[in-house]
Symmetry: C3
Subunit: 256 residues, 3 copies
């Protein structure tokens, strides 16, 4: 009774996601299909990479995660199955797996007929290759039987971290500004500055500050985030992915 | 094979809901997770309360309903399990259960380690406490083993009903204006007025009036609603939650 | 363990879809409910017809597909069960099934009490009739036991195909322009014109053209589509459902 999760930028109105689910249930009747999201911004590979990072680690081992954000569909990028930390990832080799699985155990191209629908279309590999491959895996098919082993070539242009500043890597649904700076790298007693606004210290939670106030805290991913209590920081500050967050250390303490 | 339903204001794009589902399937492998909605307006406790009221009563007994609209996460509000009419509710004690369960059979704080993830984050109790508690309940854990019994303190500032007027309690996806005024309390032959527009009588259904006309009727919840046939009443009338609806009784008949 | 798929225009925030799922799980405890979409534009019968066409054919035989886009709820249109190609469709007879099932094997009115909730509301047949009928079918009930056989009366005003032009039948989430013109009807070496822009030939896939360029191709449904690579054709061209696409044949070759 394998679990297959789905992350796409298809929305749901067109029925494309429905087609993928139909292929899964037709080929692997006892599969359990779990929606993670279909609302990734169209072609936003970095956004899909974040959604994978936030969700995949919490699923049981051997869960199959299908991620179809695939602007290059039908082109040169390979369709792949990636084995990483006892989880199985299925999708295009376009960088979408680079954040979650920078050094995967193995990756295989999906080329064997059993892992694909007959005569796959050139524009809908979500249905004809990725859902089909996930169904074969859910039925007990092995990743290494899908095709030749490959080295992943997709890269994600992650925002750089330089000196005493990081960039916002993701804005979430609440308008919170999420960075990839891990807690251990933040100097004790650091202050923060974003969009001309200063934050004196890290807070434990939203209620450490007054309503409408800006705060910095360690988010549920273990990295630095900035938010406005009961508000939307991205809107209020005009911040977005790429906005610089300065980390200001007290004199005598080393910077990040 | 317990059912766990989910109501959140997380949207799906960030993968936060995916994380909750991962925790549920990891801790209770045979659970069935049912999405009710993840599109509650951020921090809209009243909106979540309505979604609970519209959906919970139709599920089988012993269904576990998780509702995470939680602007005070990490603060003083308690995380609770509520037993009400043979259903089990899981979420923050911030008023979200006040409409569905004004007088629940019992409520318990979620404090026992078996009902929480180790070292829960301060900002994502949806994953670290509520999904975890729901999983423990789905595995057969009892509400009374989650922690000490508590009295719910969360209140919902419901719109008042005074004299011959009610306020719109909710605007649904079609722009229909929904009130909490039950059918039995509406005088026979009553007329209605909203946003300067008059309605002569209750209609049985939308086709009782012409296209684009305003009507009043008893909605599927058994309360007074107002709508525009094939249109959007909220937009056309500039109405929203809190807009006053007058109930006008004929002379000699008592008012509500 | 029957599968029931859901297509509605309810959104999810109001909990209406949750109520339908509750009815399904209460009446058919082992059912598997699959969301196709709840984001059909309100009252967009043609949009729902497309979503059905894109998803239904990929599901296993005997899947039950519930489609509730029902502006005439409570009026004269009948609630029906339609048998088509070994699949079962449930919804209002308002044209929503005309694209997928122009000549169904049989259709039955839903009138028997076992297929409906007691005292159904006049405004929420999704919960009180359609979900209830689907649950009865999932439990093994037969379509022909739901009520008298009927002839479907609902029609869809499909965009016409005349001479050497077709109209856009659907705009998908990526802004791609989808027509109902099947590949076999397109002359070899045809050119295309839409919104004053010319396309010299059919492409195999998006990467046949440069970034930002307009292309014509055979989409995953087997019909002519137009798109802008890494862009949104509908927005860039100001095109929408009904926009004319000219098919220009070389001299001496017959037109469509």
């Amino acid at each position: 009774m394998s679990i297959v999760t789905l992350i796409t930028d298809f929305g749901t109105t067109d029925g494309y996601v429905g087609a993928m689910k139909g292929v899964l249930y037709s080929r692997a009747p006892s599969v359990r299909v779990v929606d993670v999201t279909h609302d990734i911004h169209p072609h936003d590979i970095a956004g899909a990479a974040h959604a994978l990072t936030n969700s995949v680690p919490y699923f049981p081992d051997r869960t199959i995660h299908v991620c179809v954000v695939d602007p290059g569909v039908g082109g040169e990028r390979k369709a792949v199955i990636v084995v990483n930390n006892d989880q199985i990832l299925v999708g295009p080799d376009n960088g979408v797996f680079a954040l979650l699985a920078p050094r995967p155990q193995a990756a295989y191209e999906i080329s064997e007929p059993a892992y694909r629908r007959d005569r796959p279309s050139m524009t809908f590999h979500g249905r004809d290759i990725f859902a089909s491959a996930a169904a074969e895996l859910a039925r007990g098919g092995r990743p290494e039987d899908a095709g030749p082993q490959v080295v992943l070539r997709g890269r994600l242009s992650l925002e750089s971290t330089t000196g005493a500043a990081v960039k916002v890597a993701h804005v979430d649904v609440f308008g919170n500004l999420i960075t990839n700076l891990r807690k251990a790298r933040i100097p004790k007693q650091a202050r923060f500055r974003v969009a001309g606004r200063d934050i004196a210290s890290l807070s434990k939670n939203y209620e450490n500050v007054g309503e409408g106030e800006l705060l910095a805290y360690i988010g549920s991913r273990g990295t630095l985030e900035l938010a406005i209590r009961d508000g939307n920081a991205a809107e209020s500050l005009g911040a977005s992915r790429g906005t610089v967050v300065e980390i200001i250390s007290p004199p005598g303490e080393s910077t990040i």
